[in-house]
């Protein structure tokens, strides 16, 4: 702070701090607080606001799990969607990691600098296209009469076309693709800093390639893996576009449930409460990752 004052003078520093604070409070904190407030209200028509039927309650949060019977393993609809979203986002995260790790290893360590730069460019260029358009492209690729089925039939891998878009397959593929770079870049950054002498030392001491990855590269890349997983999971869990375009009625995402409560059910308190449950899920996942990978916030901020 004092450094800023020294560099820009008191007037400009104060102005900068005030503008930033204003931005944070008005654009981020206040709306969130309004939503929090909302989520504890009963859902009453505008005319009854402030009346006896408008009181604070936990009902909006509890309603997610109300009706769950653990003994028979039956869940209410919204809760089932919630659990499937967790499972789906986790699967997307795992798939992204599996897809990105070898590529990141290649780009960061094996490829010559020029080729690595080329590959990075090829990875990034598609992301200059709008997310909706990219997702639509997958809608076309994965269509029943689409090019993917045609290709797989053509080379004889499939006997008959697959309905990619009627199960969860389309959503998973679409999300892995949509959030690819959020896994790729943290991984590349983390792997790049590994001293290749360590890899060679391990090899010299008798380690086969998979042990080198298990004992040397992955432990070194842990902060990158944690960041990538956090990013992809959070983006996947809160994604709306991909599930609504590539999903089917049977694969509804929790974001869609929230949308329905807000705009079709006209139940804003319930929608807000669900939104905060989703936020809580994401925060919980972040903390879990930090625990598993034993990385601190400082490592992640790097």
């Amino acid at each position: 702070m004092s450094e800023l004052v020294k560099r820009y003078g008191l007037g400009i520093t104060t102005a900068m701090v005030l503008v930033t604070a204003f931005w944070l409070i008005v654009m981020v904190v206040l709306p969130a607080l309004v939503m929090v407030e909302y989520s504890f209200h009963t859902n009453v028509p505008v005319t009854k606001r402030g009346g006896p039927e408008d009181y604070y309650t936990l009902d909006n949060y509890l309603s997610l799990v109300r009706g769950t019977d653990w003994s028979t393993w039956t869940f209410p609809n919204d809760f089932r969607v919630f659990l499937r979203t967790i499972w789906g986002a986790a699967l997307v995260t795992l798939l992204s990691l599996v897809v990105c790790y070898p590529v990141a290893w290649y780009v960061a360590k094996l490829a010559k600098p020029q080729r690595a730069a080329m590959l990075l460019l090829l990875l990034v260029i598609p992301f200059w296209v709008n997310e909706i358009l990219r997702t639509f492209a997958w809608y076309i690729i994965l269509a029943y009469q689409g090019p993917l089925n045609a290709a797989l039939l053509g080379i004889g891998i499939l006997e008959k076309p697959v309905r990619w878009l009627s199960g969860s397959g389309g959503v998973l593929i679409g999300m892995v693709y949509a959030f690819l770079l959020f896994m790729m870049f943290p991984l590349i950054n983390a792997i790049e800093t590994l001293d290749m002498n360590q890899v060679e030392a391990a090899e010299d001491l008798g380690a086969p390639w998979w042990q080198i990855h298990r004992r040397i590269v992955i432990p070194h890349a842990k902060p990158g893996i944690a960041v990538g997983c956090i990013m992809v999971f959070v983006l996947a869990a809160s994604s709306y576009i991909v599930p609504s375009l590539l999903g089917s009625p049977g694969t509804r995402w929790f974001t869609e449930t929230i949308y329905v409560w807000f705009f079709e059910g006209q139940n804003w308190p319930r929608g807000s409460a669900y939104a905060f449950i989703l936020l809580g899920l994401c925060v919980g996942f972040i903390m879990l990752m930090m625990r598993i990978f034993r990385v601190g916030l400082a490592d992640i901020a790097k």
Binding site: A201, A202, D204, R215, I216
Partner: protein, 364 residues
């Protein structure tokens, strides 16, 4: 058990560039052998070929008589100690040391036991659970040695392992490395650009320049009987006079130089008329010599570097030479008379001058 290493016309090319050029050597089992040369002369490349990270583009490497071509680093009986040690920072000291055993499927208890033994050997008992970054430079050094010893290699390869340490520790570690080598009886192949390191530790030294071996021999012969101008000027200090051989007889050669006619040992049997260099060590130069015959040069004093028990007298460069004349003088209490600017005569006995064919000198 240790094994011998044979380099048979080994050449390594990177594109058009030849990093190692037709090197042939036989390193005996149990020998402490050093490669000495300036940075970039191809030392690391040789070591990486012996350890298996690359195969030579020409020639063969044999360890214990077996051709190593195509055999990877994890299958060779060698262990390499890297220039920056390359310890694994995310593992404990004991896990570092036992890493090679872990890769060989040795069970946890046995690994732990072996790590403890090696920690005793390197005088770090009880440090197994420490993290690598809790160790000092010298301790890391020793852990790297223990990690390599754990896999019971027959040949240890060391790439300038002491270069990151400060002077005092470096000298201590020299003795320690030599002691470990004696105790284990392993073949040590050591790389360095530091001549002091090579000369004090090694049984034999190979001096390299530009990918070629200039000379191989015991430390004393490298210093006392250099075979090429490069070795003469790279290992220790040497005064150089350039000229032509005008007479050669009785193992001596007369060389006519711009500074005068000088007489020295004709170690390489040069004939009259050839271009020659004559080398004289600063400690063999005499001030106002009595036994030097015609081997005298008179030049003004440039400066005197007082070192305590001795002093280095620097006379300005003789005609036709860019290098000043160095004379090492014992401190006899009368050094004060050597004031800058005063003309002094120095010389050397013919037996202390070495005549070699003209060739490339080491950069100083």
């Amino acid at each position: 058990m240790s094994r011998d290493v044979e380099l048979d016309h080994v050449t390594m090319r990177f594109g058009d560039f030849t990093a190692v050029n037709d090197v042939s050597l036989h390193i005996k089992a149990g020998e402490f052998f050093s490669f000495l040369g300036p940075s970039g002369c191809g030392k690391t490349t040789i070591l990486r070929m012996i350890s298996g990270f690359m195969d030579p583009t020409g020639g063969a490497i044999r360890i214990g008589g077996q051709d190593m071509r195509g055999i990877g680093p994890n299958k060779r009986p060698t262990a390499l100690i890297f220039q920056n040690l390359a310890l694994f920072p995310m593992m404990s000291v004991a896990d570092n040391i036992a890493f090679g055993l872990e890769m060989r499927g040795v069970d946890k208890a046995a690994r732990r036991k072996r790590a403890e033994e090696l920690l005793d050997l390197i005088a770090l008992p009880g440090s197994g659970d420490k993290r690598i970054d809790e160790l000092s430079g010298g301790q890391k050094q020793r852990v790297a040695i223990a990690r390599a010893l754990a896999v019971e290699p027959q040949v240890m390869l060391l790439d300038e392992p002491l270069s990151a340490l400060d002077l005092k520790l470096r000298q201590h570690m020299r003795a320690e490395l030599r002691a470990i080598q004696r105790r284990t009886g392993l073949t040590f192949i050591y790389i360095t650009h530091d001549q002091g390191e090579a000369l004090t530790m090694s049984d034999r030294v190979a001096v390299m320049s530009r990918g070629r071996i200039e000379q191989v021999g015991p430390s004393a012969s490298i210093y006392d009987a250099p075979e090429t101008p490069f070795v003469a000027t790279f290992v220790g200090e040497n005064n150089v006079f350039r000229g032509k051989v005008t007479a050669a007889a009785d193992g001596l050669a007369r060389v006519e130089t711009p500074a005068g006619v000088l007489l020295g040992r004709n170690a390489r049997g040069m004939s009259v008329g050839s271009d020659a260099l004559i080398f004289v060590r600063p400690e063999r130069m005499r001030l106002d010599p009595a036994d030097a015959g015609d081997n005298r040069v008179t030049r003004p004093v440039a400066h005197l570097d007082f070192e305590g028990s001795f002093a280095n007298l620097v006379l300005s460069a003789p005609e036709g030479s860019p290098r000043p004349i160095l004379v090492q003088l014992a401190n006899d209490g009368r050094l004060g008379s050597l004031q800058p600017g005063a003309e002094r005569t120095v010389g050397f006995a013919p037996a202390d001058g070495l005549v070699l064919p003209a060739g490339e000198l080491a950069k100083d």
